[in-house]
């Protein structure tokens, strides 16, 4: 529509590159991540601890997690964590990028939970400490709605909190929860958290739930 230019002619001369192949899942269009595993120069997440609970493996985020994460981020179930139906696939991609980048910047980060014997992620859980956060947080998000109500998040968070206190040396932890997020509030209470009315979260709507101390948890 802009007329033939030299640039456009050059474009036509080249077949579509592999990364431009669009893939479809659940009505979303996206580029399949061009994961070049094994390239020695690439700075990937390595040496990340893998935690085990009775039913779950907690491992580093990886590109294939996007297939479960993206539909979650763009659903109304994600409105409490910055997602929602109005968000696009680029926003979902950024969230997966952030989950990975946090590990490099902080040396710790959230794990992706996978039921043992499967490679299907159900959510992300773990230590979370963006620079603007007032305190170190223990966070959890169940991506897969069918995995709710089974106690997976509780099971994972008990092990992750032990890891944060024993292996990372945290002296305390909070969870920032929107007051309307009743499922997460219930989980915080199950984990023994109490509201700290004096503390502020990174967002005005956050309620600060303070976790039991290391001496209480590791006793």
């Amino acid at each position: 529509m802009y007329g033939a230019t030299g640039v456009q002619n050059e474009l036509l001369a080249h077949p579509a590159a592999t990364h431009r192949v669009m893939h479809r899942f659940r009505g979303l269009r996206f580029h399949k991540p061009n994961f070049v595993a094994g390239t020695p120069m690439t700075p990937r997440l390595v040496d990340i601890p893998v935690l085990e609970t009775e039913r779950l493996t907690l491992r580093a985020p990886q590109p294939s997690d996007f297939e479960v994460l993206a539909p979650f981020v763009m659903s109304d179930r994600a409105t409490f964590i910055g997602g929602g139906p109005e968000k696009d696939v680029g926003h979902a991609w950024r969230i997966l990028s952030v989950l990975c980048g946090h590990w490099h910047l902080r040396g710790f980060g959230v794990f992706v939970a996978v039921p043992k014997g499967t490679d299907r992620p159900i959510g992300s859980m773990g230590p979370w400490y963006p620079e603007p956060w007032p305190e170190k947080e223990l966070s959890w998000t169940i991506w897969d709605e069918t995995a709710e109500g089974k106690g997976y998040a509780t099971e994972a968070m008990i092990e992750i909190r032990r890891h944060a206190y024993a292996a990372l040396g945290w002296t305390g932890a909070v969870s920032y929860i929107d007051a309307n997020n009743t499922r997460s509030v219930a989980l915080a209470l199950r984990l023994g958290c109490t509201i700290d009315p004096e503390a502020n979260g990174p967002h005005p709507e956050d309620v600060v739930y303070r976790h039991p101390s290391p001496s209480e948890v590791l006793a």
């Binding site: 802009y2 007329g3 230019t5 030299g6 640039v7 456009q8 050059e10 474009l11 080249h14 077949p15 579509a16 590159a17 592999t18 990364h19 431009r20 269009r29 996206f30 580029h31 991540p33 061009n34 994961f35 070049v36 390239t39 120069m41 690439t42 700075p43 990937r44 997440l45 985020p61 990886q62 590109p63 996007f66 696009d88 696939v89 680029g90 991609w93 950024r94 969230i95 997966l96 990028s97 952030v98 989950l99 990975c100 980048g101 946090h102 490099h104 910047l105 902080r106 963006p130 620079e131 603007p132 990174p202 967002h203």
Partner: protein, 164 residues
Amino acid sequence: MIELQTSRLTLRLPMLADWPAYRDFYASDAAKHIGGPLPAVRSWYYFAGDRGHWDLHGFGWFTLDDGRGAVGTCGLHIPPHHADVEIGWNVYGAGQGKGYATEAARAVLDWAPSVTDAQRIVSYIDRGNTASKRVAEKLGADFTGEMAAHDPDCEVWLHQRRAA
């Protein structure tokens, strides 16, 4: 460890020490063409996401370091809703006007064939961002006459192909 060297800059992976300069840039009007100004609670997600892109694609954003710290960013990225691999650049206030963006982007374009088989490398540049368009021209890129499918305000500039 990936690191590129130009005559005046080291291009290295972003690290936590780069955050204050990144935050201040995104909080300023200078970021108006790239989604800013943004508060720190939001620009942190761009910052951490820039670093995490390396895990997802094997390439990503570098911090530009002039020997005294971060003066900007430059790198390759391809979010899933973009049509092509993009080279982008941002130079923070104090480093502007020195040709840093052009210098860094040349190094990234030369390095690109070693990390991606993309046939096209483009820059999506806001139609009002004259400074970035000047950089693209100096790099030998051409405006295709098209606007980005993901953002109707962004022009698509196509870079010349480098040999692998």
